[in-house]
């Protein structure tokens, strides 16, 4: 038993729903009690989808348990097949149904639906979670559909460069984008455009927007692109083993990764590397200029970003990418890196080690919050959970990963991948921080009446009269630390937006030195101590 207040991932059958709801022509019969239908609103409310996910729940109740729930399963399956006429049927159970062991998959298989592909999903609800459920469902579905196409053992692997002899452009599959993933829809568009600009076509995008018949075309591509390893990793490995399909595994988030991704794909497909992807004398390749991030990052206004301390937490894919962008492309100092994706813990550990850190692998958001508080970063890059923790700690935050909120599904085009993704990332990570020039000017003019509390004229009447101090309730003022009147007066001269941080740092410093009273001297001592 494990105590959870918030959870990063739903149960594995929600992962299966993500696959079903992402596709066309697939229906999922889920043996589940009535409350489990809540999962519909993840799609209709968070994703603002205009239709219900293609799921039929058996909605069993306590009074059904005495009777024949297996009969209820069969009736639900028959109804769903008749009503929705799916091209492929997924059958599975939620946590409660798993306990009553009706084996809905086996029941469906015996119902005589002829050619209808039926995938029996066995997703252990008490040991696995959402991303695993999505990956397993995607893999089982494709495996089931491709069974007739399996090459005989020992047959030669397909040549990834056969596009040349066949007189066509190389084509690849984009695997892993799904509903409730982070900005998948926009990433697919961005990567499709990116590949097109290098003369490559996209054969199949799946599961997002695919039909079962599309999945059957997967082997016609020259290579796979594992865009979201959490969802597509299992399938890509299987396609590599069984069909000999090569797979690009670099996830193109950030400039460096986008360049590396393109180079990897060119290599796999035996395409000649264009000049603009070759590193120049200064180590910069021409293609980078297709994004504004490198220049914005080098521009003088970004000087203030230097060494900003950031804490990164999310799914493995986005956390690894974020750490890399933060440290190399924005000049931040990464002071924490972690993930809730245990399946990909090894990769995150490796990324953390590169930065001289120990990765935090946990699905307990309170542990993550404690780690953030301990690291005292200036920016948090995390999930909705970290957004809350950061708010409580008074630290700015940008959301980089699922679990997400309706506000993380924007109307505008906002990819994370490719050149445009890098632009989006620059904006969305930098905006929560104070702009450089702004910070500088405010420092210069801090005694100006404009910056006295309550006189933020540019905010109009909506400005708060007394800005809330950015300290959490557990600030250890209670531990015998006291501010002298003179110390308080000095603290009040500091602009309100950094006052909370100064207070916290000074108190930490005072505690370390065993000071009982904080006066202005202590304040300046602390300032000297913390200045780098």
């Amino acid at each position: 038993m494990e105590l959870t207040l918030w959870t990063y991932e739903g149960p594995p059958h929600v992962g299966a729903m993500r696959i079903a709801a992402s596709m066309e022509g697939v229906h999922y019969v889920l043996h589940a009690p009535q409350g489990d239908t809540y999962a519909d609103l993840l799609f209709t409310m968070i994703e603002r989808r205009d239709r219900r996910p293609p799921v039929t729940y058996t909605t069993f109740q306590a009074r059904d348990l005495g009777g024949d729930t297996a009969e209820l399963v069969k009736r639900s399956i028959a109804d769903a097949v008749e009503r929705f006429q799916p091209e492929a049927l997924l059958v599975g159970e939620s946590c409660t149904a798993e306990l009553i062991q009706d084996q809905p998959g086996a029941l469906a298989a015996g119902m005589g639906f002829g050619d209808l592909p039926i995938v029996n999903l066995e997703l252990p609800a008490y040991s696995k979670k959402e991303n695993w459920g999505a990956a397993e469902t995607f893999y089982q579905l494709v495996r089931n559909l491709l069974k007739p196409q399996l090459p005989a053992p020992g047959s030669p692997k397909p040549d990834p460069a056969r596009w040349r002899s066949e007189g066509r452009r190389p084509r690849v599959n984009l695997l892993g984008p799904s509903l409730l993933g982070f900005r998948c829809r926009d990433d697919v568009r961005e990567i499709t455009q990116l590949l097109a600009s290098y003369g490559m076509d996209v054969a199949v995008v799946a599961p997002l927007g695919a039909r079962p018949s599309d999945l059957m075309r997967i082997p016609t591509a020259d290579a796979n692109v594992c865009l979201y390893p959490e969802v597509a990793g299992t399938l890509c490995s299987w396609l590599e083993r069984q069909f000999g399909m090569v797979c690009a595994r670099t996830v193109p988030i950030g400039i460096g990764a986008t360049v590396a991704f393109l180079r990897e794909l060119h290599g796999l497909l035996e395409l000649e590397l264009p000049a603009e992807l070759q590193p120049g004398a200064d180590g910069v390749c021409e293609a980078e200029r297709r994004s504004r991030l490198p220049w914005y990052s080098r521009s003088v206004d970004s000087t203030y970003l230097t060494g900003k301390r950031v804490f990164v937490f999310g799914d493995a894919t986005h956390a690894i990418a974020a750490a890399r962008i933060a440290s190399r492309e924005l000049g931040f100092e990464v002071v924490g890196l972690g993930t809730y994706s245990r399946e990909l813990a090894r990769e995150v550990r490796a990324a953390a080690q590169e930065l001289g850190l120990e990765a935090l692998i946990s699905d307990d958001y309170l542990t993550v919050e404690a780690a953030i508080a301990e690291a005292a970063p200036e920016l948090v890059l995390g999930t909705q959970m970290e957004r809350h923790s950061a708010k409580r700690l008074g630290i700015p935050c940008a959301v980089i990963s699922t679990p997400l909120h309706v506000q993380d599904v924007p109307a505008r085009y906002a990819p994370q991948m490719g050149w445009e993704g890098a632009n989006v990332i620059f904006d969305s990570w930098v905006h929560p921080l104070m702009m450089g020039l702004e910070e500088h000017l405010i420092g210069m003019f801090r005694h100006d009446f404009e910056f006295v509390d309550g006189h933020r004229s540019h905010l109009g009447d909506g400005a708060p009269a007394a800005p809330a101090p950015a300290i959490s309730a557990d600030t250890p003022v209670a531990l015998g630390l006291q501010w002298s009147a003179e110390g308080e007066a000095e603290l009040a001269k500091i602009p309100f937006f950094v006052r909370g941080k100064v207070r916290k740092n000074t108190e930490a410093f005072a505690r370390e030195r065993g000071l009982a009273v904080i006066d202005s001297e202590a304040l300046y001592e602390a300032k000297a101590h913390f200045s780098r």
Binding site: T7, G35, Y126, H388
Partner: protein, 425 residues
């Protein structure tokens, strides 16, 4: 006890028999009620003993984490716990100790049963007893079921209140007891009005502090503020309370009748009731008038969800002039609903239970102007061109009482006004 809340004989002769349906439902389970109960009793904590699905449900239903440090959590069952029950009990004790250490402000801990804990027959009543001994004097441990195999949406509150009833002290004192969670401001207002009417002692269940439980006994006259408290009503009647039969306090008419019924039970003269309430009624109707203009003549379809459907249908038809196409309810308690059923326009089609596909088919055939439904169906129906009102807002918003009637109507008028306001040509 059933006889003490007998049905009004002639109540529903004008109504056709309700459509009884069973199939896929689109209803939250009783766990969801934690989301408003924890706000009502800030010194209580709700620990769901269940699966990852339960944890995911309450966080999704709560609007994805609007609370920084929630007063609810989930003890997630793992494979190890399913292997043997003794183990699960030990695990639960360990988690509760851990939780209480972390949250010293908790005075009442509700162990909330879920589908998996019920299917594996984890005895939470026994666990609560044991934990009460372990933490005696520090915290009170109670249990109830919010499982989806036993309860729908608002029934969770019914379960939570029933868990509190055995702990309520006995007293013969004459008092009015209001049962059902109300917004604090609304409750203050209603209690103020009862005082004005001359009813001195007014108590509430649930109380604002979980440890300050009201007394109950033969002097208690029970007034239900929410229509989904069948079990609570019966348990309080068993403790000696007398149920005041009234419509529920939604809308001007319902709220007036509700207060007047209480006044009458306390022997307050009708003239005094008129003196206190009629100015409010007049003002309430004035406030309602603009909303009525938007709503009158519009066709309304209510899907079964919160159990508020019948009282709302009564208010929206009688006071706002809406036309009722179908009024769904997850279950129909004819005794507690008798006063409401009597006020429904003749011919109103009720439906009990749900087969969501069939019901949606009727919605599509009828093309009502407004559909009241759960969150999972709202956007798909909007996409089909039908305006919707989410039922979850109705259990979160202050909608009880004469003064709130216009606000209540506004919740239904807004989606219609919004559709009218939009134009992309």
């Amino acid at each position: 006890m059933a006889s003490s809340i007998a049905t009004r004989a002639s109540a529903e002769t004008d109504l056709p028999p309700p459509l009884k349906e069973s199939g896929q439902r689109e209803v939250f389970c009783g766990l969801t009620s934690i989301v408003w109960l924890h706000r009502r009793m800030p010194d209580a904590f709700f620990l769901v003993v269940g699966s990852r699905t339960c944890a995911h449900l309450i966080q999704s239903a709560a609007g994805v984490m609007i609370f920084a440090e929630p007063r609810f959590g989930t003890a997630i069952l793992g494979e190890r716990d399913l292997a043997g029950l003794a183990d699960a009990n030990e695990e639960l004790d360990r988690l509760v100790a851990q939780l209480l250490e972390r949250r010293p402000e908790i005075r009442t801990l509700f162990l909330v049963g879920s589908c998996p804990s019920e299917v594996i027959k984890l005895d939470l009543a026994k666990a609560a007893e044991r934990l009460n001994q372990q933490h005696a004097g520090r915290v009170m441990v109670l249990n109830y079921s919010g499982s989806g195999i036993e309860t729908t949406f608002t029934q969770g509150e019914d379960g939570a209140l029933q868990a509190l009833i055995p702990l309520m002290p006995s007293s013969d004192q004459v008092q009015l007891l209001i049962a059902g969670t109300l917004a604090d401001a609304v409750e203050d207002r209603l209690i103020g009005l009862f005082h004005k009417l001359g009813i001195e002692r007014v108590a509430s269940l649930p109380p604002r502090r979980s440890t300050e439980l009201p007394a109950v006994g033969p002097g208690t006259k029970l007034l239900l503020a929410q229509p989904f408290l069948s079990g609570t009503a019966r348990a309080l009647i068993d403790r000696g309370a007398e149920l005041i039969r009234a419509p529920y306090p939604f809308g001007v008419e319902g709220s007036r009748d509700w207060m007047a019924a209480a006044a009458s039970a306390f022997g307050v003269a009708p003239a005094r009731v008129a003196e206190v309430l009629d100015p409010l009624v007049e003002r309430g109707q004035r406030a309602l008038a603009p909303m009525r203009e938007t709503l009158a003549g519009k066709r309304l379809f209510l899907l079964p969800d919160s159990q508020l459907e019948i009282p709302l249908a009564r208010f929206l038809s009688r006071e706002c002039g809406m036309e009722l196409v179908e009024v769904g309810t997850p279950y129909l308690d004819r005794q507690l609903m008798a006063e409401e059923l009597a006020l429904l326009p003749s011919g109103t089609q009720l439906s009990e239970g749900q087969h969501v596909e069939n019901q949606l088919q009727r919605v599509r055939q009828q093309r009502p102007d407004l559909v009241v439904c759960g969150l999972g169906l709202a956007n798909p129906l909007e996409a089909e061109g039908m305006a919707t009102k989410w039922s979850i807002e109705l259990v979160f918003s202050p909608i009880h009482g004469i003064d709130q009637a216009a606000d209540l109507a506004e919740l239904f008028a807004r989606p219609l006004r919004r559709r009218h306001a939009l134009s992309f040509a």
